[in-house]
Amino acid sequence: MLRRVSRKKVALILLLSLQYEAVFADTSKANEAESQAGLEIMRELKQRDEGWGAASVGLAMILENPAGNQSERKLRVSLLEVEGDGDKTLTVFDEPRDIKNTAFLSYSHALQPDDQWIYMPALRRTKRISSANKSGPFMGSEIAYEDISSFEVEKYDYSYVKDEVVDGVDCFVVELIPKYEHSGYTRIRYWVDKDRYIPLKIDYYDRANQFLKTQTFLDYQLHKDKFWRPERSEIENSQTDRRTILHWNDYDFNASLNESDFSRLRLSGAR
């Protein structure tokens, strides 16, 4: 049963907060209400996406520079939902050919740094790396490592901003402020579809609170009658004029994967 009750909760909180503001002109209480509203929205977003267990998907990433030159990356990602913690992901690269079979294993956590290992096939070497530099670009793209770490509610403080229509869809606009260390962002603004509770657009603001990049999600498809997944996403960096385009293919929610498939043992055999 889809939970619609929280939308009413949000509306009620806002109504109460407006009354409060009118009567007492107490802005801190209003902020608290916005914060609570924002939290409720993102909690609902997370909750609606729970229960997928394990999945795998193919990803093609196109990196485009201001001159229009493109370079392509092809990878395959396996994901495991972990109860009470962040997701585990195993990413294996197919292209470019010189990094074929390079693999990246990540155990996401909420506020603790993620545990990450990289496997370098040329040396047959597995190395544990520091995840503190999560603001760095993933594979030279406009996506940062922190962007691909799994979304956990505890990672951010929230603030509901307003309602807005994006491409004909009514959305909540929520601001997220990272609580974890070493983030490259001061704040992140989400446009969340009021009906399906999925992000349609995300704006990122850098450490100087300057607008950095915008990400849009397109062609959402419903999987297993419950999970919405985009087929495409575009990230435009307005400071550098560079773009990254993502194409997901072959979503497999029936993947029979378990914990041992995400162990270090599997890194070197990963294909």
């Binding site: 370079s71 470019p96 050919r97 545990d115 597995t126 544990r128 760095g136 043992l265």
Partner: protein, 397 residues
């Protein structure tokens, strides 16, 4: 040559189409230029060129088994250096929490950057690279088991591979006259003596550590002067090596340790490497990543030794552009605290597009004023005139 036939066999067997997409082939043109002309020696070109071909793949054979292979072939101007090797050719069977493999494999153990102490399973391919980072394949039976408390690796090592030294007149040969044809073994079974290796590794929070054990014929021979011959004879003793690896990943800093204890009939020694690596991103307000590495090497066989790491410090910098070309620089200097020798290395690599890569590997060996070769031999002594730069252009298929 056996490797040539193996190449052909694999090409034919995979041409059925099913596994082509899984194969990566690469062709690399490597040209080297040496800083000094070597006085009074034979084949001492300042410039040489080589072509390296490699073929690798991991075709699936079914739901839970696959084949893995990696073959390399180096063709150089100087026939003694040209050679091929099957670095990996194994059949792997996967279970829910285990894997069993038969065949030839390359196994890497270790956490440090400037020396790989614990990494013992494979023999160095000195013909390919004098620094020992290229390895020869090792025939083995390997069983790995995943438990709640880490991964257990067990190996039965079939057959011992000799270290093949470059002829004395070659660049980067170390300039010792070594008789490759007549190695001697402590074991009566010679190269057929089986070896055993075990390793337990685990990851707990910010710690990654491993304990390992190896028993078998040594990979590094002792070079003994045989009376009546002007050559040095390689002698392979039977050894036992116990090793420890540990890494602590704290924020942006990695703390690393590798230590070994090696025992044989004639000697017993300990060696260790202690290191730290710090990385940060966003240098100069860009996406550039900078990493700083410092490692200290110690070996308690201070005097006579077939290696140069008795009391040395390594410092290095890694610079990653984080661009779409994956451009990366890695530079480092190894400083010997005893004889003040320095060995420096600079590596550079970048991608031109999906198919072409370019890399540079440059080495500098400092000259030291006084050294007494006598009965002892410091690994880097003989490289003084061999500082060089290698540029490689690679095409991937």
């Amino acid at each position: 040559m056996k490797t040539g036939r193996l190449f052909a066999f694999l090409l034919l067997s995979t041409s059925s189409g099913a596994t082509w997409s899984d194969t990566t082939a690469s062709l690399s043109l490597q040209s080297r230029i040496f800083a000094h002309k070597e006085p009074g020696k034979g084949s001492t070109d300042r410039v040489d060129v080589a072509l390296q071909l490699s073929l690798e793949g991991q075709p699936e054979l079914g739901e839970s088994s696959f084949l893995s292979y990696r073959l390399r072939y180096l063709q150089t101007e100087h026939s003694s250096r040209s050679h091929g090797d099957v670095e990996v050719l194994k059949y792997v069977r996967l279970g829910s929490n285990w894997e069993l493999s038969f065949g030839i494999d390359r196994i890497f153990w270790g956490v440090t950057e400037s020396q790989h102490l614990v990494d013992i399973i494979n023999q160095d391919d000195l013909l390919d690279a004098f620094h020992g980072e290229e390895k020869l394949g090792q025939p083995m039976i390997n069983y790995n088991y995943l438990t709640r408390f880490g991964v257990l690796e067990s190996y039965i090592l079939l057959a011992h591979r000799e270290k093949e030294f470059l002829p004395e007149r070659y660049r980067l040969s170390g300039h010792l006259v070594i008789d490759n044809e007549n190695p001697r073994y402590e074991s009566a079974a010679a190269e057929h003596r089986l070896g055993v290796a075990l390793r337990w590794s685990h990851s707990v929070e910010s710690w990654d550590f491993a304990l390992s054990y190896f028993e078998g014929t040594a990979r590094d021979p002792m070079l003994i002067a045989d009376d009546g011959s002007d050559h040095l004879i390689p002698f392979y003793p039977v050894i036992e090596q116990t090793g420890v690896e540990a890494q602590l990943t704290l924020d942006s800093t990695l703390w690393k340790l590798e230590a070994i204890h090696l025992d044989s009939a004639t000697e017993s020694y300990r060696a260790s490497v202690l290191g730290v690596e710090y990385a940060h991103i966003g240098a100069f307000d860009t996406d550039i990543g900078l990493g700083y590495i410092a490692e200290y090497h110690f070996d308690d066989r201070r005097d006579e030794y077939l290696s140069g790491f008795q009391n040395d410090i390594f410092v290095g910098i890694r610079l990653t552009h984080n661009n779409s070309a994956s451009t990366e620089w890695l530079g480092g200097v190894m400083h010997d605290l005893d004889n003040k020798r320095e060995v420096a290395r600079l590596q550079f690599e970048t991608r031109f597009n999906s198919y072409w890569n370019f890399s540079v590997d440059a080495w500098y060996f400092s000259k030291i004023d006084e050294h007494d070769l006598g009965g002892s031999y410091d690994f880097f002594d003989a490289y003084e005139n061999d500082s060089y730069l290698q540029a490689s252009l690679s095409r991937f298929f």
